[in-house]
Symmetry: C2
Subunit: 239 residues, 2 copies
């Protein structure tokens, strides 16, 4: 996975196998440090760039006309957002705001990434695969709302982070406020607290924004046996 340094962007899943496309894209990439609650982009704005998180956390959220908020994504390093930029005349389908102290973000202008994808069929295949993975994740999340318990959903989120953050690391930093994480996981804050308690016997210790995981195996047994993707999703691929 990508390391926490902008110059490693060429090693990102999106570009690693496409050095020629990356060479064309690289001069146009902008690196930006955004601070807590900075709005990175607004729902409905013309999608002018594709974004990659280099460090920190970004919340993707949308609001209904009658004032409810849904959290569509919690992105951390290596995560891509703003895929609408891949399509002409598209607008962003959510707001993106920085969580925690600050986040370092890379942006690729929409015309540059579209041009690269249009001219490089291998890059285009990688982008399609990314979009398909997005659908799978959203559908799996839908499934989990009815098949997993709250503590299993929290466990699944942690397993994904173990994979994303540092190839199987067991200490996670999640500077995401409790009510935000709870809303993202489709539960109330008090249910999230209860779920953290329920994961304790599996050797999972939460202390502020830091979470220690004693055994990924135990957590995987607890979560993945209740999931239709058991053995096939990214979480499992991390093993």
């Amino acid at each position: 996975m990508m390391q926490n340094h902008p110059h490693d962007l060429e090693k990102h899943l999106l570009f690693a196998r496409h050095p020629a496309a990356w060479k064309m894209i690289a001069p146009h990439v902008r690196i930006k440090t955004c601070h807590k609650e900075d709005a990175v982009l607004h729902h409905g704005d013309a999608a002018s760039a594709l974004w990659i998180v280099l460090s920190g956390w970004v919340k993707l959220a949308r609001q209904t006309p009658d004032g409810k908020e849904t959290i569509t994504g919690l992105c951390t390093h290596g995560d891509v957002f703003g895929e609408a930029a891949l399509f002409p005349h598209a607008s962003y389908p959510y707001n993106a705001d920085v969580l925690g102290h600050s986040a370092e973000l890379a942006s690729i202008p929409a015309n540059i990434i579209r041009d690269a994808v249009g001219h490089d069929s291998a890059l285009s295949a990688t982008v399609m695969s990314l979009l398909n993975e997005r659908t799978s994740q959203a559908q799996l999340k839908l499934e989990h709302m009815s098949t997993l318990s709250a503590s299993q959903r929290l466990g699944c989120f942690l397993l994904r982070l173990c994979y994303m953050q540092a190839g199987g690391a067991k200490t996670l930093q999640i500077p995401v406020e409790k009510h935000v994480l709870a809303a993202y996981l489709g539960m109330k804050p008090e249910t999230l607290s209860r779920s953290q308690q329920q994961l304790k016997p599996l050797g999972i210790a939460v202390s502020g924004a830091e979470i220690e995981i004693e055994s990924i195996e135990k957590l995987r047994d607890f979560v993945c046996n209740s999931c239709s993707e058991s053995g096939a999703c990214d979480v499992e691929a991390a093993s």
Copy 2:
């Protein structure tokens, strides 16, 4: 939208703007009539074809190792499934079974569609757009689970069908058993019955598999004012 006839496949959203690609693909398309509860494909099978529903209904579902079923999709004519065939070495992420009396399906061998997409960057852009639309729909469905009432979720499903089935038609045929539709919409069968009752004052009459909608406008007001996509999704595009 596509008509209920295989020879109109070239007018499908996927191919309408890509006559050269369609010419290459057309000789390889197979048309198949499947009957009630025929298994079209199995979760985990190598994804050997991309499928398009010509008529009838197909249920996409997955099972967890501990025996729960989730309905990932209810497809009717014009709908595409089996997108895993777009990716090498991929397997289908669900079972597909025929609902109702029978369904007519078109299948395009995986190597043919992959080859066409790899050689035609415009077709590739259309496929990307389809995949992105899939993600949007799944994320919207996730949002709806927490922001819409059960009767609004049923209303949104009906609005989409009005759009899909016949460019704004007001009589829908839905030969989908109540427990299946309820599970797909994330509710209990008795909640679905109650939701049907709640839609009556909006002029929506359910009689067996037939649903009559007096005013799409009224239904849209009832549903879309509570949805973050209000004014931008396919449902609205149908207006």
